[in-house]
Amino acid sequence: MYQENANVISQEKVQGGYHVLTLRAPLMVSAVQPGQFVHVRVPHMEESLLRRPFSVYRAEGDQLRILYKGVGKGTRTMTFLQAGDTLDLIGPLGRGFPPLTVGRYPVLVAGGYGMAALYLLARQLPVKGVAFFGGRTAPDILCVPEFEALGWEVQVATEDGSLGESGRVTRLLDDWWATREPKADAVEAYACGPNGMLQAVAERAREHEWTAWVSVDRNMGCGVGACLTCVLKTHTPGGGWTWKRSCTEGPVFESREIVWEEETAPTS
């Protein structure tokens, strides 16, 4: 874990309100694992005391990228960053995605910035499987060519049918599973997206006995385990539950560990 002043190399608008911020952040790049995040102090936001967490999208050379959308005060302020500006980062933070268990077939499921959050993993996994990307409408589907270039099959669903199949991404997942032979093949799923999507993946994992790693999005304070803002309910062996900190013990959890209930409802 480092604190680093990163230089903004470029800020690019991509589709659907998303931006890609490219930073020179050698310390972050040197240590980042797939699924980890950086905690950003957004400049010129004097009234706001908290940092904002962003998954690492790409990390190459000394360059780090994050892909984000201007949804609130912090992220909208970030859209004004320009080449030459400086950004104070803490990271890499959190427990990312574990490596694929040998002999398993990897399945990725993503929505929103989750597509970016899975990219490093997709690049690193030794087996290239199938990726399911879902969104409301075509511009919400990001990074498809990049995943295909890595050798992944990408299946897309949009709720309005403007790209790929019409409907939820989990329908694609169900169809794929239904036609897949032999059933006995072990699947290891990795998911990042809205809470509803994660919960849907968790249900399938339970039903089909997959291992499923989900990256949750919880409001964060410190990002390092000190403030206990970002907790979510997890099962304990005896049938009880305990809070775990998604910033340090997560953001990636095995889906069966999570207590799925309204208390862990989506934050976005």
Partner: protein, 304 residues
């Protein structure tokens, strides 16, 4: 070299800048980013007799220059703390102040007694002022008699320096400061977070699951300075000033109105090395003003 040391009862601090309870975890959380040994003291998150889960989420919410929290004092219990965290902290030279709380005088006393016997604890901060606990212990912070009972109980249970942490939502903070001194406290700290709340107007629900919480950060700083000034004029024991410190300036304000030491809270979330930068800033200020020690600056407010 200016003298930054501070003495609170038998506790000797090399610098006057602490980190505030609940904002720096138990030690390991920030250890990668901040050299703990350079802190005046490490004040750990509130410890109770039994493990406690704390409040449902959301637990924090950003407000104008402030942070609202209702964490609900989750903690591993005094035994859990001693097992899980004290061994780590003993590897450092930084003095460890354990913030304690309870739901009854007996619980406070039991925690104090247990920590008195533990190796590596240097003082106890007695949290009587956390607004997040529903079980009634908030009363210890605003009812003078209940307050005295807690402080007296803890005092009798330990030889460690005892530092009651005062509640900010009282009309006469001086009375609580005096009560602490009279009951044998070695110092006092203030302020704890200020009872507050926020509402999501679209859902008409509180922004915190606990409905209300405590306000901290820059927003409350001028209020904290006033209370520290009032408290410091009321007693001779050392006062630790807390509330909205983000740079040396705010820390110096506390010292000038009478604080012997200060603690950095919410600002560590924004910028983890804040406490160390504040320390450097105080040293620099003392040199610029040709003051030999931080003690020489204490209580030097000119009011005419």
């Amino acid at each position: 070299m200016v003298d930054l040391s501070v003495t609170i009862g038998s506790l000797k601090l090399k610098t006057p800048v602490l980190v505030a309870s609940g904002t720096f975890g138990y030690g390991p959380e920030y250890a990668d980013l901040v050299d703990l040994n350079q802190l005046g003291a490490m004040v750990v998150k509130g410890i109770a007799l039994e493990p406690t889960k704390g409040n449902p989420t959301p637990r924090t919410f950003e407000t104008a220059s402030g942070l609202l929290n209702a964490i609900g004092l989750p903690n591993p219990g005094v035994e859990g703390f001693i097992e899980q965290y004290l061994p780590f902290l003993r590897r450092y030279t930084v003095p460890v102040i354990v913030n304690i709380w309870g739901r009854s005088v007996e619980e406070y006393v039991a925690v104090a007694r247990r920590l008195d016997a533990a190796d590596g604890v240097h003082a106890l901060e007695v949290n009587v002022s956390c607004p997040n606990i529903k079980e009634g212990s908030a009363l210890f912070g605003t009812d003078l008699e209940a307050f005295k009972r807690v402080v007296a109980g803890v005092r009798a249970a330990t030889k460690l320096p005892v530092i009651p942490k005062l509640a900010p939502n009282v009309s006469d903070v001086g009375a609580f400061a005096r009560a602490a001194a009279e009951t044998g406290a070695d110092g006092i700290s203030l302020i704890n977070s200020l009872p507050a709340m926020a509402v999501n107007v679209e859902t008409r629900r509180p922004e915190l699951a606990n409905v209300s919480g405590g306000l901290t950060g820059a927003a409350i700083h001028p209020f904290a300075v006033k209370l520290v000034w009032d408290a410091a004029r009321a007693v001779d024991i050392p006062v630790i000033g807390i509330g909205g410190i983000a740079s040396a300036r705010e820390a110096l304000e506390f010292i000038i109105v009478g604080a012997s030491a200060v603690a950095v809270g919410t600002a560590s979330f924004t910028h983890p090395p804040t406490a160390l930068e504040v320390t450097a800033g105080i040293a620099d200020y003392l040199e610029r003003h040709q003051l030999p020690s931080v003690a020489a600056l204490r209580g030097t407010l000119k009011t005419n």
